[in-house]
Amino acid sequence: MRGVPPCSSRSKSRSGSRSRSGSGGSREGGGTMVPPSQYGIKYAGHIISSHFGDLVAKVCECLLRRGPLTHQNIVRFTEMSASQVKNCLLVLIQQNCVQAFSVEHPGGVGDTSRRSTEYLALFDNIIHRMRFPKFVAVVSQELDKECVELFQGLLQHGRLTLEKMIDRAKSGQEDSTAQDATREALSKLANARFVEHCPDPEPHLSPPSEEAPARKRTKSSKMVAEPETIEERVLAAATPMEAKRFLIIFDTTTEEDGQKTGDSFLGVGEKRKSDALESNKELGSDGEQVLWRVNVQEFMHRFRHKACVENVRERLDGGAAVALSAMLEISKSMEKKVKTDNSVPLSINTIYEEVMKGEAGRAMTLDHLRASLVMLGCEKGVDESYKIDLKNIIEQAQNEEVESIVLKRYGQEAYRIFRLLSKANCLLETGKISDTAFVDKKEISKILFRLWKDQFLHMEKIVVTGPRQTQFLLWKVDKTTLWPHVLDEMYHAVLNLNLRVAYELEKENELLNLPIEKRSGPLEKRYNRLRTVRLLLESSLMKLDDAIMLFHDF
């Protein structure tokens, strides 16, 4: 990639302004939803505005800034008409960017409780819209052209029933061909978990005390279970049961009796659910009417694995990447959540079998595999089973991304200082940092203060009283505040890249509309420049989005 020209300082660095921290969505925990960060919201608003217009973006940003609201309150805050807000909400719900839910509000003295519908903006799903080309690339690699086309249709429309998918495919084809091809494509996509049933359109959210207990305790029994955020509670209430999420029921009509019978792709023990579906047919929830949408969780799962493998390849070597890739491939089906801290324990023989399947692993000996697993830092269990700490790999990748920023922005000495404090994970005194990082004692304070001012370091003062009062400054890398700050800067940067692409294209709009035969001489040169610029900006966008996924921890 083309190097970035060195920055000369324009003026003195900013003083003390703090951006709103927060990584977005429900990541922070706590009893109420933590709003996305300042530039997270701006970026999300830009996406919605580009795709659906300013009115829809206004409603969306209102929900992102204020949290879940009723229709009435959205009207009040946006100062739009009721019908406008309703239409915008319909678009956002259709596109899986908003989830409705109902809540019970206790009445006053003598009044009964009342139920109202509120709308929750789904920040993550909005940001995922910029990843659609990456999703399509994954599907293209694994499935056929018909699946890709169907998948693209789901991306475009947000959610579709099988009936609508068939209608869409029918244009220019005979009915039965389109129907069979569409069903087959949908089956393949569902089996691969690229698509899923849409969530409940309006789940009811009980008051927290009435619901199931908060999330399970972590392995450390001393930690208190975190209360769920409202987004997590809504999504948990709305998400279909795991068994139903990928269930396909096709209605077939037999000639003899004209009765519809259901052919279903059922897993073991699913008959009870099939009966429940049968009983709901009159409500239009039979196979043809089930709403389907893209299952982003599957893609995030794959991207997380890919990021881990690439980090290991860059940081260690190809052998370690092959070993990790094999382990993740085996445990893929066993992992229920995207964010699994550790892979499942796997025997050396199981890993080796998987390694041998790939071209890169065929020449690998068992000893080489063992050495790679050691290099990966795998935890070795009984009977030579291995387990990898994925959380550690993700953290290392995140560290490298931030260290790269520090190096480019502040220089080599700041880089050493930052790495020292990041590894130490505790407060260190100025002198100690100076000695260990080999930074001149006359220069160290200047660099530390600069990093502190830009929120890369946390600082504490200690005053020692005695015959003479002495002040010591202690420094630390505090990832709980720094990581959200970096993520917010990334949202800012990705928004800037988007704006610049739009600006460059708009600037040359006439040139783009010019027929090719009329582009010659200087016009040809300008056109080629525009093409190169666009390529650079858009590839930077894709790479920065990878980094955003990394910091959001997928």
């Binding site: 920055c7 050495a371 800012h492 190169t532």
Partner: protein
Amino acid sequence: MCALSLYSVTAMGKRKRPDSKVPALSMTEQEKIVYNLIQSKQDLGIWSRDMKRETSLPNNVVDKSLKSLCSKGLIKEVVTVWSKSRKHFLASEFEPSSEITGGKWYDQGTLDTEFIDFLKDQCLKHIRNMKIATVDMVANAVRRSRVLKNDCSSQEIGEIVRALILDNDVIEMRSNGLGEFASVPTGRMCYKCRRSPDATKEPRVGAMASIPCGVCPQIANCAPGGVISPMTCEYYSMWLDF
């Protein structure tokens, strides 16, 4: 009192050398005050400004006394690591503490980056040759190469190796005694180069650091329509100058 103090042993164990040539009685009263204060600070010495405050003597008196004591060889001026311009004084019989000189890596109050970089290169070269090495192995290799006038201790080489880790040139691992770690006892910390010497590709630059916004010191002040904006950004213009 001056004679007694000349023979006493300091808390640091540095025995003051009696100097029969010291004309103890040739000092003025002010000079004695200044000299005693400097001597009491032993190997830490004292800044002239602090002297003026602690003795409450007029500035010109202190300055004159310092000049006189220097010319008599009783005290010496040293360069401190905090500021080259700061006048810092020690009694002649003391060697300045590392706290004021900066320690072994400082020369005349400035970090000796040339020497440090040279040592880093040497250590990196030996680690690369040995593929996997402990600090002691690296220190021995440096000693055997005889590139240094004065040998560095294992502790000093260890400091250099840890700086190489911070530079991300070297990675630290714990030996399991097998394979490439066979030469290192199990459980010992050892080091290997992060990249091979003939690696043509540069270390990977992060996605954020690869774009102007990632390295911009003004990102917090940047906004569409603002004085600094992505549309008018000069760094973007330079980056996209094809």
